[in-house]
Amino acid sequence: MSKMHLKLRVNGKSVETLCEPRELLIHVLRERLNLTGAHIGCETSHCGACTVDMNGMSVKSCTVFAAQSQGAEVTTIEGLAGPDGMSVLQQAFREHHGLQCGYCTPGMITRAHRLLLENPLPTEEEVRFGMAGNLCRCTGYQNIVKAILHASVEMNAARKPQVTEAAE
């Protein structure tokens, strides 16, 4: 099958690769760009292990054609670390035992990252609803929810002084 020239930005860097038009974004990320953080769990959009951020939205990259990502801005788990290593969210997952086998974790954190951009201070109910597209078989979600809620408080506390400065 003839290949197409795919150009997009991944984790802030311009990348290009050849791929078949039918290739799924998750396969291009994992196998052509060697970004194996996002995983494949179901191939039917149910489990969310393959969640990445595309043009400011959480998408399940197992049901997105790579061709649909032409020119897109994509962020994967590999692009979420802060300048000093783990981000607040990543640290919160560790601190509150929000992961066990780790397979759902990259998709889970990538989704939580977008959720907190959409809703910086969610309630527990909003977190549970907003994360319902990502399945976890190990944790029962309780500590994932806890981690996200703690991270949101911490991130807001860090954000506030900047808001004040801007207002002044």
């Binding site: 953080g37 788990i77 397979y103 399945l135 929810v145």
Partner: protein
């Protein structure tokens, strides 16, 4: 270090009992785990299966010409290609054999017919589409009772005329085994003459462990040095190496099996699957690495289901409620091949723990294993071997008996519990329960949930319902379970002849850090964190300075792997014992350096101190260095130890779970209001991880009880082959859990730990199911089979006439 207080030194170890944060998490949270599908090798090929569309059919022909003509397709393997190697069938862990690729016929939908090897997974999928299989349909049997009728279709033609199987006589052409334990005549006599007998058929439906990562492997045969490397999602890598050697004839020394990071197992990854065998053969044939990874549909339809037990029970009691006997017969649906992963001598696993937490004087269990046109498996889905089935059975029978007696089932449990002073307790079915304090746990649990107030609320709710003031019912689900885990003593527990010991090998480095390797393999349990904690307390080196390695058969000592909550009871014990060997040698070194007799020293957190002279001591760090730089008469240099631990007994964790739910009688929607879980897993290694295990296991229990199933239609079509139909709860419907504990150490385990990972699944399922039953008890419900999805709950209400 000398300035630190005793307590500060203990805290610095991050040893037993500390909620140490996990060392695994830095890589997992940053997308740097290394799972099987992440492995990429030069020239690697991809393999995948042509699978049967039918549940029972003869294979007339397989036309591969078009597929082989497709650019990028390397080969297509069929049974005839494997037959010269003797690999078209393989032995199962249960003493049966299983087709690797269809040999003349198929016996379940999704069965492997041919293995396509191609340059990548897309070409592989294209080639599979191009392969034409011609079938001749045969009559299908999906009901184990119908399978045992005289005129039932013959499923396993390969067993024609065989009246004896791996576990004794076969009484029918679709019969696998009959396994009996206990006193049949004595039990039946008690049942015949009892004041009260409750009888019920309890069905524990077929389901699937469904870890988020499916099964897969990468096989790489290096033809230059003759070495085969196999990376895979293996819960028991050493056993896989042994099986691979026995099947292929390659010496074990030339096979390296590696379990990298595993994305959950829950029993699904214990067995050996056709994909592994075909990948190995394909790599040997092509001389290139071959990857095989299941998709979700393959996983749900073909690899290792769980449960599917029809349990006929009779429980006898006095009119005061004292249980006098328990009788049980199980019809066990094993599917097309008996591929259960149980210890060899236990074809129904440890189902005979079904007397539960109760002092029952006489009991009998008979289990008949039966072939049907369903996928093979019968693994333990987050439980020790068939323990979940046993716990569900007895916890339902208790409820059924309570109905018959008109008693409160909390009280019925209490008056029948094994008392604390009866431990070690010998059960009527032959187990020796190591330790327990059930009454204390039960009272704590009932008090914690405010049991009496809940019952009063429920009584009011029923009155309101009957008065037409509400359409909501309330159920209180009680469950008290005793597990049997930590298989097991080599004298009666083996898998394929391998005794079920486990192992730990420790090296202390000269500068006082350490490496420990074990025969187990973590799939999310956090072994790298917790085993370092066990060792830290034993040898006085901070857990942060101890690296744990598992899963590489070239480096780790032989062990039987991780399933059945056996890692802590068995490998955890080996770790403690190896640590004690290290400490014993360190003591001799300390005695030499301090110029005292060994017996003049005592251990203090992280050092040996001369008794009565606290200022004279040597720390483990100093002793580690001395082990490598001192010439000590009569003592070899170095500081290493290995322990192969053969447990003297199983361990018996227990717990009390209580679920409160509100049920809408008109829609069948059940809302879990609260779930309380008290666990007693003996000595607690890491409370944070224990709590996480309970949350996760309880969520699996919630799924199983409330909607998750592998269902077939009459034609043998699997109706639940994707996550569209197979229920995995999301964060939205998963309840909030309250955890609690008591601590009754195991008397025979070196640190008193019992294991916990599977308790919440074992205890959780009856708690959820009993809550549903309890809600309808006032309206006459005795038994309704799981899973209790909305439709089935609605149907209960409808059949009880609650819809007016």
């Amino acid at each position: 270090m000398n300035d630190l207080s005793h307590d500060q030194r203990v805290a610095g170890l991050k040893g037993l009992g500390s909620s140490r944060k996990r060392v695994e998490d830095a890589r997992f949270t940053q997308g740097k785990g290394n799972y099987v599908d992440d492995i990429k090798m030069p020239d690697m090929l991809f393999g995948d299966f042509v699978r049967s569309q039918y549940a029972h059919a003869r294979i007339k022909s397989v036309n591969t010409a078009a597929a082989l003509a497709l650019p990028g397709v390397i080969a297509v393997l069929q049974a005839a290609d494997l037959a010269p190697l003797g690999l078209h069938w393989m032995p199962t862990l249960a003493g049966d054999k299983q087709m690797v690729l269809a040999d003349g016929k198929v016996l379940f939908q999704g069965q492997e017919i041919a293995f396509v090897i191609a340059e990548d997974r897309y070409i592989c999928a294209d080639a599979i589409e191009l392969i034409e299989v011609e079938y001749e349909e045969l009559p299908v049997v999906v009901d184990p009772f119908k399978a045992m009728l005289p005129g039932a279709p013959v499923l396993r033609e390969d067993l024609a005329g065989q009246t004896k199987g791996a576990h004794g006589a076969r009484i029918h052409h679709n019969h696998i085994f009959r396994w009996e334990v206990g006193d049949k005549d004595g039990t039946e006599a008690v049942v015949a003459s009892a004041d009260v007998v409750a009888e019920e058929m309890i069905y524990y439906h077929r389901t699937h462990p469904c870890p988020l990562e499916t099964c897969g492997c990468v096989a790489s045969m290096d033809k230059i040095n003759g070495k085969l490397t196999l990376w895979g999602t293996f819960q028991a890598p050493h056993v896989v190496r042994t099986v691979a050697s026995l099947l292929s004839g390659i010496p074990e020394s030339s096979i390296r099996v590696v379990s990298p990071d595993i994305g959950g197992g829950f029993g699904n990854k214990v067995g050996v699957y056709p994909g592994y065998v075909c990948s190995i053969v394909a790599s040997i044939v092509t001389g290139r690495p071959v990857k095989w990874v299941e998709d979700r549909m393959d996983n749900l339809m073909t690899t290792a289901f769980a449960r599917d037990y029809w349990m006929q029970g009779k429980i006898a009691a006095t009119k005061e409620g004292k249980i006098t006997g328990l009788w049980c017969h199980v019809t066990a649906d094993h599917g097309a091949f008996d591929a259960c992963a149980d210890p060899t001598k236990f074809p129904a696993g440890f189902f005979s723990i079904c007397t539960g937490s109760y002092d029952i004087p006489v009991a009998y269990v008979g289990v008949d294993g039966v072939y049907t046109n369903k996928a093979p498996g019968g693994v333990s889905y987050r439980c020790s071997f068939r323990v979940t089935e046993a716990a569900y059975f007895i916890e339902r029978m208790i409820e059924v008996l309570a109905i018959k007696l008109g008693m409160d089932s909390a009280e019925l449990r209490r008056i029948n519990f094994i008392r604390k002073d009866q431990f070690p307790y010998h059960s009527a079915l032959g187990w020796e329960y190591d330790s327990g304090d059930y009454h204390t746990a039960w009272d704590k649990a009932l008090a914690a949930v405010g049991y009496d107030a809940l019952r009063a609320e429920q009584t009011q709710r029923v009155a309101d319902f009957k008065a037409g003031k509400t359409r909501s019912l309330m159920g209180i689900g009680l469950s008290f379970f005793t597990e049997i885990v930590g298989a097991g003593p080599v004298k009666n527990c083996d898998i394929l002849g391998m005794g079920m010991f486990d192992s730990c090998e420790i090296r202390i480095h000269p500068t006082g850090s350490a490496l420990a390797r074990l025969g187990t393999i973590s799939q999310g349990q956090g072994h790298a964190t917790t085993f370092a904690q066990i060792l830290a307390t034993e040898i006085g080196i901070s857990a942060d300075l101890i690296t744990i390695e598992e899963g590489d058969t070239d480096t780790a000592p032989y062990g039987l792997g991780t399933y059945g909550s056996r890692s802590t009871p068995v490998a955890g014990a080996a770790t403690a014992m190896a640590g004690r060997k290290i400490r014993a040698k360190a003591q001799m070194i300390a005695a030499y350096l301090l110029e005292v007799h060994d017996n003049d020293l005592e251990w203090d957190v992280d050092r040996f101190v001369v008794k009565g002279v606290p200022e004279r001591f040597k720390t483990m760090k100093e002793l580690a260095y001395a082990a490598y730089n001192q010439a000590i008469p009569g003592l070899e240099p170095g500081l290493e130890a290995v322990s192969y631990y053969d447990p003297p007994n199983m361990t018996y964790p227990f717990g009390a779970y209580i679920c409160v739910m509100d049920i809408d009688a008109d829609t069948g929607v059940a809302d879990i209001r609260s779930f309380y879980a008290l666990d007693d897993c003996g000595t607690r290694i890491n409370p944070m991880i224990i709590e996480g295990q309970v949350h996760g296991g309880a969520t699996e229990a919630f799924a199983i009880a409330m909607g998750q199933e592998i269902a077939y239609d009459e034609m043998g079509n699997c109706m639940t082959g994707s996550l569209m139909d197979f229920f995995l709860p999301t964060s939205w419907e998963t309840p909030h859990y309250t955890t609690d504990h008591t601590e009754t150490p195991s008397p025979h385990h070196p640190i008193g730990a019992k294991g916990v990972g599977e308790s919440p699944n074992v205890g959780g399922v009856p708690a959820f199911s009993n809550a549903v039953h309890d809600a309808f008890r006032p309206f006459g419900l005795k038994q309704s089979h799981m899973p209790h999805d909305h439709w089935r709950i609605w149907r209960i209400a409808n059949q009880l006439g609650l819809h007016g």
